[in-house]
């Protein structure tokens, strides 16, 4: 099933795009699994996802840990820790 990926800040810059529609294979359970799979798409993806400790995620706009399940998700965002305010 297609998932809309969103990337922000330096994750977006390293991947070279702010969003993309992807169709992950069956069997990916968590955001971390999805990141593993996405890292193979390009050198930019690999660079952006090299350090998991610096990544945060939101599933259908709800913030969650990288081991959160992705089943049924339509929009998943990957980004660095936030720095607003």
């Amino acid at each position: 099933m297609a998932v809309e990926m969103l990337y922000f800040a330096w994750v977006r810059e390293q991947i070279g795009r702010g969003h993309e529609s992807v169709s992950p294979p069956e069997g990916l359970a968590t955001v971390a699994d999805l990141i593993d799979w996405l890292a193979g798409r390009s050198a930019g993806h690999a660079a952006a996802f090299a350090d998991r400790a610096r990544l945060r995620a939101a599933i259908d706009q709800r913030f969650g840990p990288l081991d959160a399940p992705i089943e049924g998700a339509r929009e998943i965002a990957i980004f660095p820790p936030v720095t607003g305010g």
Partner: protein, 147 residues
């Protein structure tokens, strides 16, 4: 009154502050964050996650209202490019008494720093750098969870 705004336009703090003076309010507290001009930054860019940002700010406003019985709460966050002296964020609260207004205002800015999807990029001349999240911000936000 509860208002949350994410905007590219400059923040009008005078209007925001006046809007908080609702009937019954005896205390209005506000916090304004500005682009600092003293550390060589020429431009500050604010990126955000449209939709999720507004939802996160609304969730914070709702939590603050429930926790402190606020009469009014307003959060305005600017996005896009800014220069030193520009206002990045405004948080305002109104309550019957000062303790609630002051505490809720501090709560909102502390939690906004860790809970809302904004990212800062600093330009110093031709050098651009994404701002790193700070452990002190996590600690400041956590103190509202521990209580």
């Amino acid at each position: 009154m509860m208002a949350v705004r994410v905007q590219a336009e400059p923040i009008d703090t005078a209007a925001a502050l006046a809007g908080l003076e609702a009937p019954g309010a005896g205390a209005v507290a506000s916090f304004t964050g500005l682009v600092r001009g003293d550390d060589g930054v020429s431009v500050l860019e604010l990126e955000h996650y449209p939709g999720a940002t507004e939802a996160a700010l609304e969730a914070l406003a709702v939590e603050a209202r429930a926790r402190w019985s606020l009469i009014a709460v307003e959060i305005i966050h600017r996005v896009g490019p800014m220069v030193p002296g520009d206002r990045v964020v405004f948080v305002g609260t109104a309550a019957a008494h000062r303790g609630a207004a002051l505490d809720a205002c501090a709560f909102l800015i502390d939690r906004l720093k860790t809970d809302a999807p904004f990212w800062k990029r600093e330009l110093r001349g031709s050098d651009a750098r994404w701002v790193e999240a700070r452990a002190s911000d996590d600690a400041a936000a956590d103190r509202w969870r521990a209580e």
